[in-house]
């Protein structure tokens, strides 16, 4: 403790703390190696009033869509390398391609492309909070519409 009474030693110690903190800040903002992308494919329709219990955590997100029934058709997750691309099969001959673009300010930029029988339906780039999601919906399917929940978690 006596060593700490010396201003020169205090300066050394806090410079070390500063360097370590700067290192931690740098590490925190470093791009992740992988992004875990989860796609949940949901069929929304008005035939029944059933709500799939597997979608319990999404009730509040689906509520504004005003459909009567929601059913989880498929859930798939893949670890996508940063700057890499992965495709997810979506019912109805569709495919969703996801490519993480950057990680900044705890948000992940995802480039997303939906195709239907090889033809592009939508190309979009969305920045989502780490561990957050967004919803892409509307393509007609099996008497209802498809709702895709696209979430990403930096690894």
């Amino acid at each position: 403790m006596r060593l700490l009474m010396n201003p020169r030693n205090q300066l050394r110690l806090f410079s070390l703390a500063l360097i370590l903190t700067a290192g931690l800040v740098g590490a925190a903002e470093k791009n992740p190696q992988f992004v875990q992308v989860t796609i949940r494919t949901i069929l929304a329709e008005n035939k029944t009033d059933d709500f799939d219990p597997k979608l319990k955590g999404m009730e509040r997100q689906l509520k504004p869509l005003k459909y009567r029934s929601y059913r989880l058709l498929k859930a798939e997750d893949q670890n996508v390398p940063s700057q890499g691309t992965r495709s997810f099969e979506i019912p109805g001959g569709r495919s969703l391609t996801v490519a993480p673009q950057e990680f900044q300010d705890n948000r992940i930029a995802l480039k997303v492309r939906l195709t239907e029988r090889e033809k592009p339906v939508i190309d979009t780039t969305v920045k989502i909070p780490n561990k957050g999601n967004f919803i892409l919906g509307g393509p007609p399917h099996d008497g209802g519409v498809l709702v895709l929940s696209i979430s990403a978690t930096a690894q």
């Binding site: 009474m5 201003p7 205090q10 300066l11 110690l13 806090f14 410079s15 703390a17 500063l18 903190t21 700067a22 931690l24 800040v25 925190a28 903002e29 929304a44 329709e45 008005n46 035939k47 509040r60 997100q61 509520k63 504004p64 869509l65 005003k66 459909y67 300010d105 705890n106 948000r107 930029a109 592009p120 339906v121 939508i122 190309d123 979009t124 780039t125 969305v126 920045k127 989502i128 909070p129 780490n130 561990k131 957050g132 999601n133 967004f134 919803i135 892409l136 919906g137 509307g138 393509p139 007609p140 008497g143 209802g144 519409v145």
Partner: protein
């Protein structure tokens, strides 16, 4: 050989024992051969003697016992922790010791800036919506919804209402219902 003036300047320090051996020897040798300087030495010795005698006489009249008791009480007295802490703080924040404040301040700012990277959800509510940077629906209609309650961003693709009416057997409409 040193001159008398410089010897006389050094006599006082010689009498107080502040000179090294060589200088003391030089002064002693000079005094043995110089009457004037020896007189100066004797004068200084007599002043010293008078001063010593006076001090001793005065000191006998001073009551030292209460003074020593006070010192002993203060030594034995334990300083309360809050006074020690206050003293420590005062010592730490004196200008000469406050050099660490600048790097410490920077470290605190950096730590605050990086907090949300380490505490999940800290930034929620301030920036928890997904934001659409670009969108190309290849001529299709697109609606964007940002729902505040669940902090959800929805991109909704839909056909023209007229086209949709033409397919009357479609039970669920794909046009946005929100």
């Amino acid at each position: 050989m040193r001159d008398c003036e410089s010897i006389r300047e050094s006599i006082g320090r010689w009498l107080d024992g502040e000179l090294d051996t060589a200088e003391s020897e030089s002064i002693r040798a000079h005094l043995a051969s110089c009457e004037e300087c020896r007189k100066a030495q004797q004068q200084l010795e007599s002043i010293d003697q008078i001063l010593k005698t006076t001090l001793l006489a005065e000191a006998q009249q001073i009551e030292f016992l209460p003074f020593w008791r006070g010192v002993q009480v203060r030594i034995a007295q334990k300083t309360p922790w809050h006074e020690q802490a206050l003293e420590g703080l005062r010592a730490t924040f004196t200008l000469s010791r406050a050099a660490w404040l600048v790097p410490a301040g920077i470290a605190v700012v950096l730590a605050i800036l990086s907090l949300d990277s380490y505490i999940p959800g800290l930034r929620e509510g301030r920036n928890s919506f997904a934001s659409v940077e670009s969108i190309d629906a290849y001529g299709r209609n697109v609606a964007l919804l940002r729902e505040n309650e669940s902090k959800t961003t929805v991109i909704w693709l839909y056909e023209d209402q007229e086209e949709e009416n033409a397919t009357a057997d479609e039970p669920a409409k794909s046009a946005p219902a929100f």
